[in-house]
Symmetry: C2
């Protein structure tokens, strides 16, 4: 499979680009790319087919030529995951799978019932690792954007993250008997989504850790962000299965998982 590389810069209107700095060094001296090699290169969310023109391995720079635009691979509907910190390598697995399926970003948060505790040093190392996994999965699954991955150590950090995001709809996945069905919640959105009018939605899904959210956390989601408790049906999903399942269903609902139009864009 053709490599897919992400750059934090614009390429609009340019035909020739020089890659320098850390990435130039990486391509020229670590990957040892050669003139004539092709790769998908993604500049600030826009993907192009590009060809290496010349390599200066001493300077650590690579000159590339843009050959053509590539069709967009990102869903218009932006679905974010708020994931309660879970044990072992579950979060790694969740970040990887949800990136493939098309998550816009993930907030991992310490919760009252999380078994694992992360101090500041450990959290920083974990965030680095989760971001690396998201970047690799974004490349492999041929996305145009690397999903954001953040960590909230406290409830007020969760609140801040959601205040910045301003989701149209916050869905609290719930085994609670009173929860409404996911389809019903998407077809009959209340709250902020009432003003949505024709633009693709921004939706956040909150998935608790193994033991679920506690009552204080639920209340905060409901009081501050009008969270809707939704059920994925009568079968009980583990925390590492729930997010991907809900994400898949929501992207399907909005035609982002092989839609009505038939062919790939």
């Amino acid at each position: 499979m053709m490599p897919r590389l992400f750059f934090d810069r614009d390429a609009a209107g340019q035909q020739h680009l020089t890659i320098d700095g850390e990435q130039g060094h990486h391509f020229a001296r670590v990957l040892r790319v050669r003139p004539g090699e092709q790769a998908a290169m993604v500049f600030n969310g826009s993907a192009y087919l590009a060809e290496v023109e010349s390599v200066d391995s001493k300077a650590g720079t690579v000159a590339v030529r843009i050959l053509q635009s590539l069709p967009p691979h990102e869903p218009a509907a932006r679905v974010y995951l708020v994931q309660g910190l879970a044990k072992g390598d579950k979060v790694e697995d969740i970040v990887q799978r949800c990136t493939e399926v098309g998550v816009a970003g993930v907030l991992v948060c310490a919760t009252a019932r999380s078994v694992v505790q992360l101090d500041e040093r450990k959290a920083a190392a974990k965030i680095d690792r989760w971001r690396r996994i998201a970047a690799e999965a974004a490349s492999q699954s041929q996305r145009d954007v690397i999903p954001s991955v953040d960590f909230a150590g406290t409830g007020s950090q969760v609140t801040q993250w959601l205040e910045r995001l301003q989701p149209d709809l916050l869905l609290l996945l719930d085994e609670d008997e009173t929860a409404t069905g996911l389809k019903h919640a998407l077809h009959n959105p209340g709250g902020r989504q009432a003003g949505l009018a024709g633009r693709p939605p921004v939706i956040a899904i909150a998935v608790g850790p193994e033991g679920g959210w506690d009552e204080t956390e639920r209340m905060r989601f409901r009081d501050e962000f009008q969270a809707v408790s939704v059920s994925l049906g009568p079968r009980i999903l583990r925390t590492q299965t729930a997010g991907q399942t809900a994400l898949s269903a929501i992207l399907y609902e909005y035609g982002e998982l092989g839609g009505e139009s038939g062919c790939r864009p």
Copy 2:
């Protein structure tokens, strides 16, 4: 969480039952259940809340009393997975996750591009292991049925399995540019599903191994079962992500993943 136990027998109309044989032995002598303990007990697909009345640990029998019926947890739409044999413990993971989400059965099949080869002895051990994983996941996720897990070592065994199943629709997950979108395929079914008329569908999803299906395999699915090549959109999913994603979308489409009716049944 209350234990959930599966029995290969009927309980319709009965209030008192004696569990003997291997399961009686297991409950009486291994789990050492005690009078008064409650469990969800599933008899041939129907779940009940039951209470242990007495235990004869010498004879290995347990007498139970049915307290009440439990609401059904099975999707009416039956979605099966035909999964190309993949490396490592991927199939284990696929069986576990798809069981939680609600798969009706899984056929793991040796394919032209499968890296792993299973001789008869190894295959038998693997099938045992996959079935054990399905049973455990069915219990944990509170299903009423343990999904079937089978293995096909040859193409003609795949054909036989599909001939027995007679799916209304066989969906071949495909990265092919000509594939139709999943939603389009479900909303405009051709072939056998034309005669579906009001009953819940039987759908099979075919997911290739890491290297995908080869042309002979694709042709067989198309020629013998009118398989429809479908795309899950422009992002490329790994074999261990694709099945669960498609299953989630299809069950959602048919209202089986938290539907319009709102509350859990």
